[in-house]
């Protein structure tokens, strides 16, 4: 469950943990206060309500503190995301062609494949092209996706650091067989990859 396959995925999970942690704190606080007040200030226990119209200090506190917190969340979310947009020097480029309802991966040496094979520990730049409608290349274990849009070339960077096989799904609705537009990502050792790519 929630398997991570890259350092980047671990960073995304830590952003998730930060936001969920703060959120659970607020959710439990608000819910507990609400339930406590409804019980404690029940009509039977508290027949006469106090008419409190507000409190400026409190209003300022619950504007300023959440603002500070969301800015922290924003920053971490952006900082981690930014890593995924930088194309490292020496990255290998693979051209991705999406069409209803299959993926094709084109390599520099002319090799084409229906599944994506890449070497471990090397940055890969995927150039995303669609032949028909919008698709989205989604690798859940890598915590990353980018839409594949007809008429423009989006890109995505992945940095695999564990050998293994992962799911690739289409995440942008693309018609009848959208839910069958799966493929596989194979992260191979450098040696295995050299063998695979030169084997026509």
């Amino acid at each position: 469950m929630f398997g991570q396959a890259t350092k980047y995925a671990e960073s995304v999970d830590s952003v998730m943990l930060l936001i969920v942690g703060i959120s659970v704190f607020f959710l439990l606080g608000v819910t507990a206060a609400m339930i406590y007040f409804v019980i404690r200030y029940n009509k039977k226990r508290n027949p006469k309500a106090s008419q409190i119209e507000g409190n400026t200090k409190l209003e300022i506190a619950w504007i300023v503190i959440p603002t500070a917190l969301v800015l922290v969340m924003f920053y971490y979310g952006y900082a981690v995301f930014h890593e995924s947009r930088v194309v490292p020097k020496g990255a290998m480029t693979v051209k991705v062609i999406a069409r209803m309802w299959a993926w094709e991966f084109d390599y520099n040496n002319g090799k084409k494949s229906g599944e994506l094979y890449i070497p471990v520990n090397r940055a890969i730049k995927l150039e995303l092209n669609s032949m028909d409608v919008n698709h989205s290349l989604y690798i859940p274990a890598f915590r990353i996706k980018e839409d594949v849009i007809y008429g423009r070339e989006n890109y995505m960077v992945i940095q695999p650091d564990k050998i293994g096989t992962y799911v690739i799904a289409c995440a942008e609705y693309c018609g009848l067989n959208h839910s069958h537009m799966y493929s596989k990502l194979h992260v191979l050792s450098k040696k295995d990859f050299e063998k695979w790519i030169s084997d026509n």
Partner: protein, 541 residues
């Protein structure tokens, strides 16, 4: 206003005669109260259709692969579920029903500013609904684009796209005209002495909403026309094959459809600000903070649309800016939640059914809002967008938020609208069933999404089945709760015990007139000398 104590004989709006006969007494009536009830009937009808489609979708999700329908049917179902729930139920929402019925009364007016325009809005709603439904039976089959109508798919599919889009266009006009009507009503028809800061917070919320309706809705109208024109004449506006830009569509679509989220939620927030003081018997905490936060939400809400497009290939700079603004729009919603909870502090609380719904709302809406932060953050959004996480998030916000308060308002204002009360015990059972079923149905979707289950999938990987099954069983519990609730309300409306003018001891103006209200609401327009929630005044006297 001693003549309005309910003992005097009067003719209620429900029984008033007009020059028309039979059903025409209603469908040609310009009385804001009748129009509100007609919206309610139409919307409840569409709600039941939407629920049925949702129920069928969840049944299909019981097993991977085909359970009872093919992929094309499933794709049409999630599209129709979205189109009906959004355009025919939740966008007119509380504004159309309770805004129409209560807003004029709450500001001490006899009707809205333009009663005939109001009737036209309702007719446009009905015509839009009929067009949307009739498109299901035309050749080509029901629309299968998803309710977001993304190009180029919506330009290529052979299903009926143009007619439901045109229906949404007409519904847009209904929304714009209602907005114009409410803005004018609030500016021109407030009772003497009712300045803006003496208005009930529900009025503030409907007023803010009305501005969004007027300003944002034309954008979707233009977008829809462009898609229809593109489908017919292949102009090359959106289709890249003809030199168009598919992202242009997404921008235009979300420039309306994000503010539309606030069209859906703001009136519900207003109703919460009515119900809590009534059941806590005290003035609202932070009146101005709540009022201004409605305006802040309405304003900032225009500038966050591209957070729906973080993975679409927009520039990294725009991703940065829209993520930042998205986090900021969370603040005014947070301010409201804190003030509502603070209003319970040192109240004298009766936990009636409307308040139970409000408590459920605060819990569910908080989850919806906080998971919105997860989706506003770039790193996590890239992973979670277009997965079940998003589906869970917006159902927590829209269903757990708006619809729960729609239900709360039905219970809160039913005795005012029909003069009769529902059965309290049955209502509590329905609250319980709805709460349990809702969380089973949608909380599982957060987990599914994080595990990588994309949305709009007819088929799924076998490892996701357990969570899908829990979710489907939750849908059964939720639906039985809703049906129990509707049955109870219907019985209460017809045969419930008489409720009297003010069953809850509320302070806003609707509780000062008889239930159901007379045709012209007030025999004498009241003069306002105090704020809307003056629960302390009795003790002073």
């Amino acid at each position: 206003m001693s003549e309005n104590t309910g003992t005097m004989p009067y003719i209620s709006f429900l029984h008033a005669e007009s020059k028309h006969k039979g059903i025409f007494k209603w469908i040609l009536s310009t009385d804001h109260k009748r129009i509100g009830i007609m919206y309610m009937m139409g919307m409840l009808g569409f709600l039941l259709v939407g629920i049925t489609f949702g129920f069928l979708m969840k049944l299909e999700m019981l097993t991977p692969g085909k359970t009872l329908m093919d992929a094309q049917t499933y794709n049409a179902l999630f599209t129709l579920h979205g189109v009906i729930m959004i355009f025919l139920f939740i966008i007119p929402g509380l504004s159309a029903v309770f805004g129409n019925f209560m807003l004029p009364i709450q500001i001490g007016a006899r009707d809205v500013a333009f009663p005939r325009l109001n009737l036209l809005s309702w007719w446009l709603y009905v015509i839009g609904g009929i067009l949307a439904i009739s498109s299901l039976f035309l050749q080509g089959g029901p629309i299968d684009t998803g309710w977001t109508f993304y190009v180029p798919y919506s330009l290529r599919t052979g299903t009926n796209v143009s007619l439901p889009l045109f229906a949404a266009f007409i519904l847009g006009f209904s929304s714009i005209l209602t907005g114009i009507n409410f803005v004018t009503t609030v500016h021109r028809l407030r009772a003497p002495g009712m300045d803006f800061f003496k208005m009930p917070l529900f009025v503030w919320a409907v007023y803010s909403t009305a501005w969004i309706q007027v300003i944002a809705t034309p954008v979707i109208g233009i977008t829809i026309i462009l898609v229809i024109v593109e489908r017919i004449f292949s102009l090359g506006i959106f289709d890249p094959a003809l030199g168009g830009d598919p992202l242009l569509f997404q921008h235009l679509f979300w420039i309306y459809s994000h503010p539309a989220v606030y069209i859906m939620i703001l009136p519900a927030m207003g109703a919460v600000s009515e119900i809590i003081p009534t059941f806590a018997k005290r003035t609202i905490f932070g009146y101005k903070a709540i009022a201004y936060s409605s305006l802040a939400i309405a304003f900032i809400g225009y500038f966050v649309w591209a957070h729906h497009m973080f993975t679409s290939g927009i520039s990294d700079t725009s991703r940065f800016i829209f993520s930042l603004l998205t986090f900021l729009v969370a603040i005014p919603s947070g301010v409201k939640v804190f003030n509502w909870v603070a209003t319970l502090y040192k109240g004298s609380i009766t936990p009636g059914v409307p308040l139970l719904f409000v408590m459920m709302f605060i819990f569910l809406f908080s989850i919806g809002g906080l998971t919105g932060l997860v989706l506003g953050s770039l790193a996590t959004d890239v992973h979670l967008t277009d997965t079940y996480f998003v589906v869970a998030h917006f159902h927590y916000v829209m269903f757990g938020g708006t619809v729960m308060i729609f239900f709360a308002s039905l219970h809160y204002w039913l005795p005012k609208m029909f003069g009769r009360m529902y059965n309290e015990k049955v209502a509590r059972w329905s609250v319980g069933l709805i709460f349990v079923g809702f969380n089973m149905l949608y909380f599982t979707m957060f987990i599914l999404g994080y595990e990588g289950q994309p949305r709009r999938y007819w088929d799924y990987l076998p490892q996701f089945q357990t969570l899908h099954v829990i979710s489907t069983v939750g849908s059964w519990i939720l639906i039985s709760g809703i049906l129990l609730m509707i049955g109870n309300l219907h019985r209460g409306m017809k045969r419930g015990p008489l409720a009297g003018n003010n069953p809850w001891g509320g302070k806003t103006l609707e509780w000062t007139i008889p239930s159901p209200p007379p045709v012209h609401n007030f025999d004498e327009i009241p003069v306002i000398t105090h704020g809307p929630y003056n629960y302390g005044d009795e003790e002073v006297k």
